[in-house]
Amino acid sequence: MAVSPHDGRGRVAQDDAGAHLPAQGDVVEPLACGRDAATVWDHAEAGTLDAHERECPHCGAAVADARGLEAMVSRLAAQPLVPPPTVVDRVVGAVLAELRPRDLLVLDSPYGPAALDATAAAAVLRGVVDAMDGMRARSCRISRPAGDAGRPVPPAEVSMTVTARFGIELASATARVRQMVLAAGEQALGVPVTRVDIEVVDVFDLPQPSSPAGREGR
């Protein structure tokens, strides 16, 4: 591309390894002094003009334009624009209305066929983990193979990823997660669970809203 990388300040119109060459009209013309006009403008906005840019009349004109526009643009940017809360409400309403069951978990029901949406079941199990101190559920997948007709349905298996607060004792925490998930499967879902795979995929260090770190010692 014909855009010459001038001596000025680094990030001159690089050609993006040829992936996206700018159309002719989108090329930044260099200033008469050779500096890249967009870079000078960026420096003016960021307050990082170098010696040349402060002295040069060509750069000076660009800087004056930048400063003049910036005053108004920053006023515009400062104006609060908040969407009415009804937008997300409507979106969630529409999403809920178009929800269709995906995977179904067979429930043990003496009264007739019953099934539970696996997404809903997973959300319940995540909620159980979220309620535990220092643990958060991320992925949660629960599956239950369909049994052969006339035979008891095999129990479900759960596979979860969790994040844990930094410093928490992971072995006992995951053991508790497993115990709680088994219990919730039985109690809240009515789905016996035999296997709970737990993978701790991240740690977080939650700043306590009311008190800074250090309260953990109790």
Binding site: V73, L96, R102, P110, A122, R126, G127, Q187
Partner: protein, 258 residues
């Protein structure tokens, strides 16, 4: 309750948890949440078939805790949950990002009601496509891109592009909405500033779409060239060029207000 018909027709059960996860009734379009929560009782008799030796609070506690913490969850966690079909996680993401997305839409479209439509449609689109979000860019970049695309699509459909050389022709009332003239005023200087802001709004509205999107993302949203390139699906050099042309045009128009 023991009627087989109450056996979850999975459609309703799928939403049961939505009511449950919600933990509190923030909204209830047409009472559906209440109805679904009732449907949720289907779940209750099921475990009664067997003994329940495990502490009850294990399953009772989540309500307040989850409600309180969903908004605190890290973005990656919310995205994964949403990808697995958790509507409330998606809602938390939507609430987290809606203001920035709305700002972009208002600045690009020039009025609030179109921007609301664009935001709403974009969020629905994001929900439907969230499975395809791979995390190559941030979730914020991904959603900005959806909104930017929708806005340019709307502009193409509804308005012929306004020539740059004719900035006064565009905007009008729209530009007034864009710059929010309803704020309390003080005398002359304020009037002058207002006029300047209105002029800026008009000039912004008169920019070519692609320049306006890039300019708004850079100067009003404060994003870097790389991210803007990802959002607009173009190269960084092109983004720099568009922003620079927009700056020059606007600076020219705004010279009298300096």
């Amino acid at each position: 309750m023991t009627d087989p018909d109450t056996g979850p027709d999975a459609g309703s059960v799928g939403v049961v948890t939505e009511g449950r996860m919600d933990g509190h009734e923030r909204r209830d379009p047409g009472g559906t949440v209440a109805a679904l929560r009732d449907a949720g009782d289907v779940r209750t008799p099921v475990p009664s078939a067997g003994p329940a030796p495990v502490p009850r609070e294990a399953v009772e506690q989540p309500r307040p805790a989850v409600g309180a913490r969903l908004a605190d969850l890290d973005e990656h966690t919310l995205v994964v949950r949403a990808q697995e079909g958790d509507v409330r996680a998606f809602e938390a993401l939507a609430r987290r990002h809606q203001t920035a997305l709305y700002r972009l839409a208002v600045r690009v479209l020039g009025n609030r009601s179109d921007a609301e439509d664009a935001l709403q449609d974009s969020l629905l689109d994001a929900w439907r496509r969230i499975g395809s979000f791979r995390g190559d860019a941030s979730f914020s970049t991904w959603t900005y891109r959806i909104v930017a695309n929708r806005c340019t699509g709307m502009l193409r459909r509804t308005r012929p592009p306004v020539p740059v050389a004719d900035p006064g022709a565009a905007g009008g009332d729209d530009a007034a909405g864009l710059v929010g003239r309803s704020r309390p005023r003080s005398p002359e200087r304020q009037a002058e500033l207002d006029a300047g802001m209105a002029a800026l709004g008009d000039a912004l509205a008169a920019l070519p779409h692609d320049q306006r999107v890039c300019f708004v993302l850079r100067e009003l949203e404060g994003l870097g060239y790389t991210e803007i390139a990802q959002i607009t699906g173009t190269g960084e050099a092109t983004v720099r060029g568009r922003i620079h042309r927009a700056r020059k045009t606007l600076a020219e128009v705004m010279r009298p207000w300096r």
